[in-house]
């Protein structure tokens, strides 16, 4: 069998998963997409392992071993992931990724007020901006 098929398939699957991760709103859907990506990798591993096992007489089957590894870890990961999603859900009442914005910059004290600072002295403006951010935090 032509090695390109599994390779291409895994690439496409991986990118579909990637799209899912980047585009989906619900955290669980994101987890599903992550699963897809992991599976794509597994497919690649298996394909290469089978190819190498015969091409390079490699008896170690590291590819398949790593696939098993990945599957196990994926299971653990999905467990923990869902636990976290639930906790986040309970804490925030929502599990939509783009509504969880705690890490955003608190307003833009410098962005809006900054440029209007007195033009007289660069130092003065710099100092005012610094005071304002402390005040805001």
């Amino acid at each position: 069998m032509h090695l390109a098929y599994p390779a291409v398939l895994s690439a496409l699957l991986f990118c579909t998963g990637l799209y899912g991760v980047l585009a989906r709103r619900n955290a669980i859907l994101v987890l599903m997409s992550v699963e897809l990506m992991l599976n794509a990798v597994n497919l690649n591993l298996v394909a290469f392992d089978v190819w190498l096992a015969e091409a390079a007489e490699d008896t170690l089957h590291s590819g398949q071993a790593l696939t098993l590894f990945t599957i196990a870890i994926a299971a653990a990961e999905i467990g923990i992931g869902l636990a976290i999603v639930l906790a986040v859900y309970r804490a925030r009442g929502t599990s939509d990724v783009d509504r969880l914005r705690e890490t955003a910059e608190r307003g833009h004290p410098d962005g809006t007020g900054g440029s209007g600072a007195d033009a007289g002295d660069p130092d003065g403006a710099g100092r005012n901006a610094a005071d304002r951010t402390e005040a805001a935090a």
Partner: protein, 516 residues
């Protein structure tokens, strides 16, 4: 001699450290402040003495040879060497620095600087002195940069903590502006050092840029030139100077104008001209153009400040006059002729002496009347200092006349030779352009004369009001601090060979690439 130069450079640092320690039991003096100020005077006095002995011990027959040199390896990896040495160009500057710092210490001993702890004040001045002396004594590019930078920190604190109105922003702008310039210069220095393999100025100077390709020379010249131009200050990069001077304390102003500006021009002569001559030659016309603009710009700015009702500040005016005088120095350097460079070096020393004196006088004026605002000082007809304090008026008139470049005083020879150099520039430079520059610079001397005499008219002349507030004439200690400057100005004016005899052979050697 070797040890002497090392003492001159390192001495102030040790003094600064000692200044921070509490006074030893024996030398308590009236109060800790008084003790530390006396310590300052002592250390700077010793350094001045050492400088004078160095000058006397200097072999005046061969000023172009590097004398009293110490050459220790410091960073073998980068081939950076602790290479100190002095020749006809740097000796006068070293003596000038030592003298000015001693006079400042003397002045602040009697007139305590108002501001936080004098210990810090003395320590900063000594570090400043060590930095400037090192800049003039060092013969290694990286060391030169190190010393060049070392000076900024103490000056920043001098302005920021002992300065006058809105000193914070002024100090801030001073240090950021100069640092930016120096960073660019560092790139240039590194380019030269790494490209040519060595950082040693003497080797590079005698090699006269033969081992550096043209493009490297041009870029290096531009980078180093910008860094030095900020410090000089050259015309468009000068806006930090008036603010720094207006806010600096008297001692800070004297040292800033008297010594720090010279480091920029000394850098041009010692680093730029000999090491990257082709680069310098490509930028010479632009440098000359900016210099001449600086001359006219500075004097016109002063004319604007001195006008009735312009609310001009005297210290700001003298700062702009420094921009003008430095314009002449740069013109001399840009001409790349021995005459021009001699004129530049002479004008350096002269400007140091005269502007130092002027800043001392304005400082004293500020101490007596509380403000250096011209309109407040000269009500309608003028402050009539001739009448209220004849000696003070006389000295101010002398300072103004010396500053406008009266022949027979130090100011004239520098400017005249710079213009003479520019009149007949080095080969390869556009003669027509330099002729116009000379003419404009000569017209600049007229504008300089105009605003300085207007200052004399508004401050020294005028009807003596009956109930004028009491204006103390020159005190004893002020005389002590100022007479050396006056005497040296007259001496250098009447006998220019005392400086030109030293610099001329050295300049010939530098420009000819170590050949002669």
């Amino acid at each position: 001699m070797q040890f002497l130069l090392a003492l001159i450079v390192a001495g102030p640092l040790l003094g600064a450290a000692a200044a921070l320690l509490p006074a030893p039991p024996g030398l308590k003096g009236k109060s800790p402040q008084q003790a530390v100020l006396r310590h300052g005077v002592l250390v700077t006095g010793v350094i001045l003495l050492a400088a004078i002995v160095l000058a006397l011990g200097f072999d005046h027959d061969h000023p172009s040879r590097i004398q009293a040199s110490t050459d220790l390896s410091w960073i073998p990896a980068l081939d950076v060497r602790l290479h100190l040495g002095v020749d006809g160009i740097s000796l006068p500057l070293i003596v000038l620095t030592a003298l000015l710092t001693f006079l400042c210490a003397l002045h602040s001993y009697f007139k305590r600087p108002e501001g936080p702890a004098p210990q810090a004040f003395v320590a900063l001045i000594l570090v400043l002195e060590s930095g400037t002396l090192a800049t003039f004594a060092v013969l290694d590019l990286l060391l030169f940069f190190l010393a060049f930078e070392m000076v900024l920190i103490p000056m920043y604190f001098l302005i920021a903590r002992w300065g006058g109105k809105d000193r914070g922003p002024a100090a801030w702008k001073f240090i950021l502006y100069t640092l930016l310039g120096s960073v660019v210069m560092l790139l240039g220095l590194l380019l030269v050092g790494l490209d040519s393999g060595t950082f040693d100025m003497v080797a590079l100077a005698s090699d006269n840029g033969r081992s550096l390709s043209a493009s490297v020379q041009v870029t290096a010249a531009l980078a180093i030139g910008i860094g030095l131009a900020v410090k000089t200050p050259m015309w468009p990069l000068h806006t930090w100077l008036p603010d720094a001077h207006t806010a600096a304390p008297t001692v800070g102003s004297v040292l800033l104008a008297g010594v720090l500006l010279k480091m920029g021009t000394y850098g041009f002569v010692r680093v730029l001209l000999p090491i990257v001559p082709d680069g310098a030659r490509t930028f010479a016309p632009y440098l000359a153009a900016f210099a001449v603009v600086g001359v006219l710009y500075g004097s016109l700015a002063c004319l604007a400040l001195v006008r009735e009702g312009a609310g001009g500040d005297l210290k700001r005016l003298i700062a702009y006059s420094s921009v003008g005088h430095m314009g002449f120095v740069l013109l001399g350097i840009a001409s790349m002729t021995p005459t021009g460079v001699n004129g530049a070096l002479f004008a350096n020393i002269a400007h140091g002496l005269i502007t130092g004196l002027l800043f001392f006088l304005v400082g004293a004026l500020k101490d007596r009347t509380g403000s250096t605002d011209l309109d407040a000082l000269a009500k309608e007809t003028g402050a009539a200092l001739y009448g209220r304090a004849p000696r003070f008026g006389g000295l101010l008139a002398f300072g103004a006349v010396a500053s406008l470049g009266l022949p027979g005083l130090a100011g004239f020879w520098g400017e005249m030779l710079a213009m003479f150099g520019a009149f007949d520039p080095a080969a390869g430079l556009h003669r027509g352009a330099f002729l116009t520059f000379t003419a404009l610079a000569a017209f600049g001397t007229l504008l300089t004369a105009a605003y300085l005499l207007l200052v004399v008219r508004r401050v020294c002349m005028g009807a003596v009001p009956e109930k004028a507030p009491e204006f103390a004439d020159v005190q004893g200690y002020e005389f002590a601090a100022w007479t050396p400057l006056v005497l040296l100005t007259v001496l250098a004016g009447l006998w220019p060979a005392v400086l030109l005899g030293l610099t001329d052979p050295a300049v010939h050697k530098l420009l000819a690439g170590g050949a002669s």
